[in-house]
Symmetry: C2
Subunit: 415 residues, 2 copies
């Protein structure tokens, strides 16, 4: 089965938003081994929408469309689909109640415009949208004697994504007997080109599983993907490839993560081993704390974070010595150490982690240029300091500092 | 002139990366009033690439294509373009030197594969790519008796974007005598549907400038866009529309921002008026500090941030009373107030801003469900508290808390 994704939205054509829907749907389809050969974006224009549906149904078995399910006259995707399948639009009482319930908090009468949202192509499966008024639908039928499936989803990602996960994927699974399963291997402390070169023979040789690199700020990720009849089989196929990769990069530099974030592993280690942590941030300014707190259950080990941006804050809250700041400056190994120690002492935690640096665009000197960051972890009486020299925009430098700090925490725990 | 964007890359069809190229190109073309009616994505497959070029040249005057300029046999976009225009591929000495120079750091011989990167459709304008081996090109010619333009750009954004800015846009400007200019109006404290309803007559009536809503977590943004012969004229045209919108929403709820972030204005006000600020975060966990510190020059007013995630941290660092936590709980108006006050006192700042809430997925009760957040600003002896009840994932709830807090700071300053 081949699928085409059709996203409707003038805001996409204006470049106001990036098309995350196409990526989300593609990714989910890849996981159940349904191939996507084309993605198309078109504006809210009836003639062009019809044109795109026509092309898509010629070259694909399944067309998944997002957008155009709203209440206005422009929202015509359901009508177009009905036309292609040669069926009528019919009223759905369930969708009437759905829209009514959604509005019940705001108004008593049924908004007239929204009547459009209660009609669907005859014979379609209607999917209840818990996050918006627009119910979605799946239509199976024949076009020019060939069996085709049309899936219509709402445009807003927070409405589309749950429908894709809970309704569309389970439905489409029947058409795919294969599973695609991937694992992400994160590689730290080795540059992108160098990392790729170290395993180039494997990348070129492997066909199933495949190994694909993709670079990301401050780290390199390799995705190992297998296609087989079951997830278990995929996992078995991935295992030796993964082990070979880890062997080549060294297990201190490479490990598997769920989402490709270094903190996946860092937070898991902290929680599993019940190691408490506090954070003292200067240039990263809250990013480390924020990324840690993104993990449910972290309150067990994360005690306190300090954004000690000013010198006074460093002295007053973290007990950094005035003399240290005067002698070495705020951006120095010595200050980073005192910040990490100060956080751990103040919050009474096992680990204190700190950043101090020059995020720019101003404030750099020849000796200490923009992008210079010191990261320090204090743990069990020991200090581990890392000096970074990043390039890029202010927020890029800050993100890299946070990533390095979270990675350094992992290394200190696993040591 | 109508344009179609064609992005080539199997990684896009797998959902490994999001298509930022299509957004970037669309945005740049919108600025010079060249309409984009379609965006298409296709994989590295010769037959399908040809199919897409054929469709694109039928329905657009300009086709801008990214990807497929690399050295491998799969990289065929230049050949396809030459075929459509009915010209030969010819050798370009400049591109030979370019590739050679790019490789000179790594190797002495000319990599044989890369010879493909030295051939271009005859008569095309070759664009020097300072960030990669693949030079780009613009081809103007006739297809089926109609004048068409093909633009081929490399796929990596860091190579594509400078070429788009410095070469393609200046070239295409000759075909457009118009400028498009837009401003973003941010609307807070009014729901998306309600906001839209308040100006529905304007949205429907306006054709130039146009008013288009786009929703974003915890806020609504209206983009007002004018098309005219100059940017000055656009600004003049936008002014009365903007004023009418601000009048309807109330100037306390609506204002223009550069990037659509509430903190654009909050940080500007803080810096202009030299009002110092400190932050006490529980559920938002560093996001407020981090979003403030994203602005260069903020060190003048941002003094210190506290991520007081545990009760001990609230008591110990922010001086929240134990009795308050026991009587009202950590997630309460009273705790939010003491946190804000505690931050301001501890850091010696004019403003203290705080958040405390339940970000989930666990920890909610009937009385205090997941998504309940209190935000408080302490300023000049006064407290302003806002109670939020958000839905969504943990990070969505946290982001909304931070957005609300940054907005509340603005309101307190502007009051």
């Amino acid at each position: 089965m081949e699928c085409e994704i059709l996203c409707i939205g003038t805001e996409l054509l204006h470049g106001d938003i990036v098309n995350t829907n196409a990526q989300y749907i593609s990714k989910k389809l890849a996981e159940i081994a349904i191939d996507v050969h084309y993605q198309t974006v078109v504006g809210d224009n009836p003639k062009r929408i019809k044109n795109c549906f026509g092309i898509a149904f010629q070259r694909a078995d399944i067309v998944i469309c997002t957008g155009g399910l709203g209440p206005t006259q422009d929202d015509i995707t359901k009508d177009v689909l009905a036309e292609y399948f040669g069926v009528e639009m019919v009223y759905d009482e369930g969708s009437y109640q759905h829209v009514k319930n959604m509005y019940s908090r705001f108004r008593k009468d049924f908004p007239k415009n929204n009547m459009r949202q209660t009609y669907f192509p005859e014979g379609s499966i209607i999917l209840n949208n818990p996050n918006g008024t627009a119910n979605a639908c799946i239509m199976k039928g024949e076009i020019d004697g060939k069996s085709k499936i049309g899936v219509l989803l709402p445009g807003p990602p927070k409405e589309m994504e749950p429908l894709m996960d809970n309704e569309v994927i389970p439905y489409l699974k029947q058409f795919s007997k294969m599973t695609v399963y991937g694992e992400k291997l994160i590689v730290m402390n080795i540059g992108e080109s160098a990392a790729e070169e170290m395993i180039l023979d494997l990348i070129e040789k492997q066909t199933n599983p495949t190994i694909a690199p993709y670079a990301s700020a401050g780290k390199v990720i390799f995705r190992i993907t297998a296609k087989a009849e079951s997830e278990e089989r995929c996992i078995d196929m991935i295992k030796p490839v993964k082990e070979e990769l880890i062997k080549r990069f060294g297990k201190d530099n490479a490990y598997v993560t769920e989402t490709g974030k270094v903190e996946d592993r860092t937070t898991r280690l902290l929680m599993e081993k019940n190691i408490t942590i506090s954070v003292a941030e200067s240039c990263s300014g809250g990013l480390i704390s924020s990324r840690l707190i993104s993990y449910p259950g972290i309150s067990k080990v994360f005690k306190e974070g300090f954004v000690a941006y000013s010198n006074e804050a460093k002295i007053h809250t973290l007990n950094v010595k005035k003399g240290t700041l005067e002698k070495y400056g705020a951006v120095s190994e010595e200050t980073a150490k005192e910040m990490a120690y100060g956080a751990a002492k103040r919050a009474g935690t096992d680990i204190g982690v700190s950043t101090t640096g020059i995020a720019g665009p101003d404030g750099g000197t020849e000796e200490k240029p923009v992008g210079l960051v010191y990261v320090c972890v204090y743990y069990k009486g020991d200090y581990k300091v890392k000096r970074l020299q990043s390039t890029g925009a202010r927020d890029t430098i800050r993100e890299r500092a946070a990533t390095s700090a979270l990675e350094l925490v992992r290394r200190c725990i696993e040591k």
